[in-house]
Symmetry: C4
Subunit: 201 residues, 4 copies
């Protein structure tokens, strides 16, 4: 039993590391304007304003990474050993998380391109599928907290598919859906965690 909780703690350590690095590296997609390109004064501010899509992309990805981390946390909350399949799906999740800086940077550079949002949505869909798969294998899936994990990942998967479809019509609509997702779930999740999660323990 000792060995098993050890494996679980190392999955946590690796996952926390990947989440922490993805969260922090996202900011490096926001570029520092070049000295040669700007004339001091109002142009400096213009240049900063041009970084707004990058900042928006950073905020969006950071918020979704927080959401994914909370979900991962609920899945890992019992100390029992995880099976090889669970560990494999965790690697799939970590792969999606580690990949996020690329579509996030692409979105910051080209917010009006359909490909940027579709790639971002596919990445989130893979992460949501990995979490749903981990839920199927996890031994504690009958608890209240674990049921929420499935709900949240299904909502994320549906948002991803819908965002892809909307993007084909107009890229800004797909982006707007993700914005609604991030702004809408924050207070909802807070209320749910307050009343459902605390009741679980």
């Amino acid at each position: 039993m000792h060995h098993k909780s050890f494996l679980s703690s190392r999955i946590n350590a690796l996952s926390d590391g990947v989440f922490a690095i993805a969260m922090t590296l996202l900011v490096f997609n926001i570029q520092i304007p070049d000295l040669a390109d700007i004339k001091l004064g109002e142009n400096f501010q213009t240049n900063i304003h041009q970084q707004i899509p990058h900042v928006f992309s950073w905020l969006l990805s950071f918020a979704i990474l927080c959401r994914l981390w909370l979900n991962h946390n609920h899945l890992m909350s019992n100390h029992e050993s995880k099976s090889a399949g669970f560990t494999g799906l965790n690697f799939l999740l970590l792969g999606a998380v580690a990949f996020i800086p690329f579509p996030a940077g692409l979105l910051g550079e080209y917010p009006n391109q359909a490909w940027s949002i579709i790639l971002l949505s596919i990445t989130y869909a893979v992460a949501a599928l990995a979490i749903a798969g981990m839920w199927c294998i996890a031994p504690n899936r009958s608890s209240v907290g674990a049921k929420r994990v499935l709900l949240v990942s299904m909502v994320m998967l549906l948002t991803s598919i819908l965002a892809c479809l909307l993007t084909v019509i107009n890229p800004y609509w797909g982006l707007a859906l993700w914005l609604v997702y991030v702004v809408g779930i924050a207070p909802l999740a807070y209320l749910m965690e307050r009343y459902v999660f605390t009741g679980e323990d």
Copy 2:
């Protein structure tokens, strides 16, 4: 109870990761001078000298990250479970910490621009507000160490507001205030920790 301390340990792991990466990545704002741009000899040294604002910006941000980490440490020092609101504010703090490399890089590149220092001050103000908010929610806020956390974050918030105001008059005054903050708090904090923090346990 076991589950709760587990959650607390994962918040620590994620936070330590974000702090460690922000601290280490800051140094990548200091650029290695390009071979094509320099004539060997005295120009090599001139180029190194041009990196001084970057080094100063790195030292400033590193010192403030250390300060924030110590505060975070005091807030997390009891092993009890943290509420969803506490976790949410912790994400706000991590967001501010992960964002620091951008304004720090901006300051190193443009130390004479008001916008650089205002953006840096806003980031620190958000971090200070997040810590103050976590203090309000934390269950151990009545302890001596926790009271210091509020004091320290209020001082950081006031410094941020004052630095913004001073920067509007003269960018170097805002920078000087942050310098005073970093140099002034180090011995003060050492004395306080020696006599207040050790008395607490």
Copy 3:
């Protein structure tokens, strides 16, 4: 005894950090196409297509890093103290892991160059040798899980040597061997872990 398990936990913490960073930083070899270089529309998609070798290189390296981490995990699975030689070989493994982003980036940029695949294979061979060496020193090498570690690292070493030889004839053959290795071992490892690893505890 307390001191010894502490040392083991810190080796884990450092190793998990290095693995997590290497996994996450790999994605930064995939470059965001430059605004100046592309004409919007079909060229945007062409540019994304040009990143396919980078994405392939990222997937390959990510999969092998997962494999190495699982092996490292099995080696560290008992809480006993590790000897100085074990720690030294662990540093050699971490050195190889930390080095992977360079040959992976090289492979993404130049998938048709023999040197790229040879350098990548040498890096994996060093990692495999370090793990085999750690197995020789580890006190728990007689367990079933530990025996699998040696088997897996020997297979990786042989693949590395074979990939180098194939690359001299044709670079794509070396690349194809690594692809077979990654795709072939995933289901095999799952089956082995299901029946051998669970039998071990």
Copy 4:
């Protein structure tokens, strides 16, 4: 007492993070040769050969980071609470560690410049001084392992000073001294750890 060991575990987590990131990021100083600059074939290999100073600089810095981590490990090996001064000196050490990628990158780019080696030596000297200072404050400095920490950090400090002096005469002599330091201490440290460190427990 519970709170105190908690503080110690978080210092470890932050320090391991900074060490792991510094070790991994070092490799990003090795640049992937640009497609536009090379003619395929022999020039590709020439370009790889030009990266040899970077690889050497990476190996040197990685080896010294391993050395520093082992020393840090010995200092933190008892679970007692650490004082505020100890934590402050630990931040100084982490600052030096986080700074290493810059002088290491500088050395890789300009191995024949005195300034590169002097800056690298100063960084290592600061790290050695921080460890010596932590040893003075640490409560377990009378143990055999802790005495070795002081010895190792003094040797590193003397090597730094000597390397600075030699560099003024000829940059390659300073570099050669660091090479001797790294190659010379590896077997020595192994023998010492085998006979002194194991006798300690």
